[in-house]
Symmetry: D2
Subunit: 282 residues, 4 copies
């Protein structure tokens, strides 16, 4: 298994530039059956890792049906990167950063793969996406919290070493408030992440949906707040590449959009919160 | 023990109208030794429960010394409410609410009590206050979170039952965002409270100082945010006495001041966060 | 004209406890024609001034039709307070404050008034409300800004006179930030109010709709933020009746609901902002 | 005058990497007299425009004295870019953006210029900086507001054209709130900018200090809020270079630091606000 052994890498192609992909049923890339093959046509972007030198294969989400139930029209299929018709259009920048492993935009033109490459059955794409995204999301949240901790540490170190108007910046009440609020917010986000992970381990992803959605919203937002304060304490250095702050901010900002924007996760939390009241009101 | 058996009640007199009592060393009420008695002179306010019909005794914080180390000048002493010279000036309102058990303002004029009423020794007042306030604070936080849960439930019920422009308020994206953000924030505040309580149980109040300070800031602020959103969804009813929301808001607003304002707790968190960096910078 | 000369007062009965009155078409109080009279049946609340000793007459909004265009079913009618069937149920409290002039809840049971009391024609109620509310709203905003200025002044005076940890509160960076942010926000809210007033004077209420809606949202929210900071600087005194802060907060909080909640005004701003894009998209 | 005619460009070297330059008295670059020359030694960064092909000359802020009054130790001096000892170390990135005209970091090693290059007299540097920065600041604010307007327009256009869950994003209450809040905030920031400009024209920069400081804080913060909302509505496209949003966000983020960070401007506003109360308290 060269993938599990880390010799090759995979990437996941879901988001499309032409539709609001936060609603997964909007996805348009066509996966059409032709004999014992499937033929793919469409355009994907924000395919992370696709430009890594070891990346060999993509999981592509597309539509195998254009009618029937809205959540049974999508399927996932394996596409080797060197398949004819796979055209890497560009490496998308993030706030000016051009990452080496990259966020690819890829056009699929009559890309043919064996029908055995289909994951599970036709129409299972939405279901697989739901099941798969939980663990991925919590992984991102853990990294966000790590970045926030590092930013808080950098903020403290800088506040102690810089002096304005005759005293260290660390003695200013507003900077002390930022430090305390950062510690409070990081601590709360960490505990919520741990609870979500614990629920995933004990009762499963499905029963942890509210907590996973909650932490997917909370962790990046907390991290961005802490990073923004740390940038402010670092002055001009904070927006340059002398510190990790600007690049961390830029990449964490994408987390409020990737794997579903904040708004979609809040909607799903609100629906579950409202559900018992709707039943009662009927 | 009539106090432990609930037959009588006690109250705690610490805050003074004439000084910023968030700095406990500001306290001015004089406790002077005279033979085998102590004589108290000064003014206290926000003495909760003092007006309860069963309240018989107060713990009063004052100064037994005006020189020496700043944190060794304070002492605590027991004062029966019916001691001559104890004058209940008024019952303080909270945002217009005049609570029956009350928040008393009391003037102490040559109030004499036996010297045996002193708790621990002269100069121990500050230390006792530090030790005592942890459990009290977390109790308040638990109630704040309970109020927030109740407000979120009321907000959902109201949003489902009221219609504007042809649809239930619960279908509006902004109200759904409020509901989701409330759930996220309550969940995080609850976990932080539980962690603080667990630390108090396992490693003791002293090692839980950061967590106690953190939750003392976080819980009332989260509860106030949720209550404010719930009031907004309830319209005019929300600020009246038809719902519990306005009274809960008013009383929780005092929690951002009682037992130390937010700013004092944030300062103590920031100091502990900065401490290792200051050592390193030296 | 005893009303214009200030000998008697009037009040306006629009909001109803049983429906979300932010959508004026929800209003249910029935105004039915019976010969040369109209008969009113229904319940209103938040009728400001109705309990003032000189208040003699109400303008009541109700429905003269239950079918036809949704914005032509409402009418306004004059109802003397001493008309048989007018029953003042209670004086609504605002966060515990029971105001003397009052916010009345009134039940109308077969209240009969001459048909000549109808203002303009049947079905004109919605239109009159739209025309009338602009000037009323800006009046509230001016008072909100006045309260905010007063709170900022009180916050500065208090911050200068109170000391914690050896220095005036006014030297703390966080309190200085609050003061500066309050000045910035008040200044911006004042300028927006002045612009709205100037537009009303020069091009008329209709063309100032966006600015009136904007200031109706901005002014109370700015005032509440400033008041909340001032309360925090005042400590326990801030939530009592020793200062004007708590009562001002409570009453300004109603302004985010009265004459349309924030959300309705934001919706109307968003619609006008989106309109040219919708046309283009079609 | 090739500078006024636009044939050549100038740049301004003030900020230093080694000190918190928000306190201008921290500046360390040495300007020492040697006969009829001045010799400069030190390091500057964030010298905007210095890398423009037509940039020929810098105004450099440094210290001509290390004792005497703290605000009389600084001077400004003209330094042609091709003077020996002027070493352009690098072009600083802003987030990941490497701008062509650039933000240079320059080391000055025994850079000699004629003594006539000193602007005004020795010790006048701080005073010149104060006088010069007002107009520069308001120019930045106007551009910030322009960017915010453009972002609001892009947000509306996108919200109308994208559909999720069966309806345009523009129909969601949360997105409508963002649009309305953006309009309100932009309008207020614009009016404050206009007032500051009007005061500068009529009573002079000195008497417009509060308003200039206020708008220097308000305009970039408003613009960043609007841009962040617009990015969120644009999804992945918002952080890429397909729209102007990410680059505008990155560059406007520097405005909260350039020409004095928010905190320094708030401090100066707070001081003026507190001044009359301090006098009264004495």
């Amino acid at each position: 298994m060269p993938l599990l052994e880390g010799e090759i890498r995979s990437s996941f192609a879901m988001t499309e530039p032409d539709v609001a992909s936060s609603d997964a049923t909007n996805i348009q890339l066509a996966i059409e059956r032709d004999g014992d093959q499937y033929v793919l046509n469409g355009r994907k972007w924000w395919i992370s890792n696709a430009l890594h030198p070891n990346c060999r294969i993509m999981i592509v989400m597309g539509k195998t049906a254009t009618d029937g139930p809205r959540h049974r029209q999508q399927s996932m299929i394996l596409v080797p990167l060197d398949t004819p018709g796979v055209d890497v259009v560009r490496n998308l920048p993030v706030f000016g950063y051009q990452d080496q492993e990259g966020h690819a935009e890829i056009v699929f033109s009559d890309v043919r793969v064996p029908s055995a490459n289909l994951i599970a059955g036709e129409g299972d794409g939405f279901m697989i996406a739901q099941a798969r995204l939980g663990p991925g999301r919590i992984h991102h949240c853990m990294r966000a919290i790590g970045a926030a901790e590092r930013a808080l540490e950098a903020m403290c170190a800088r506040a102690v070493s810089r002096h304005t108007f005759g005293a260290p910046v660390a003695t200013r009440g507003n900077v002390q408030d930022w430090i305390a609020e950062s510690r409070i917010e990081i601590e709360m986000a960490r505990l919520l992440t741990l609870k979500a992970a614990w629920l995933m381990d004990t009762v499963g992803n499905k029963h942890a949906r509210t907590e996973i959605a909650a932490i997917k919203v909370a962790a990046p937002n907390v991290a961005l707040k802490v990073l923004d304060r740390a940038i402010q304490v670092h002055g001009g250095g904070g927006v340059s590449d002398d510190f990790f702050l600007a690049t961390a901010y830029a990449h964490l900002r994408t987390l409020r959009l990737a794997d579903g924007p904040d708004e979609v996760h809040k909607l799903s939390i609100a629906r579950r919160e409202l559900a018992p009241h709707i039943t009662r009101a009927e």
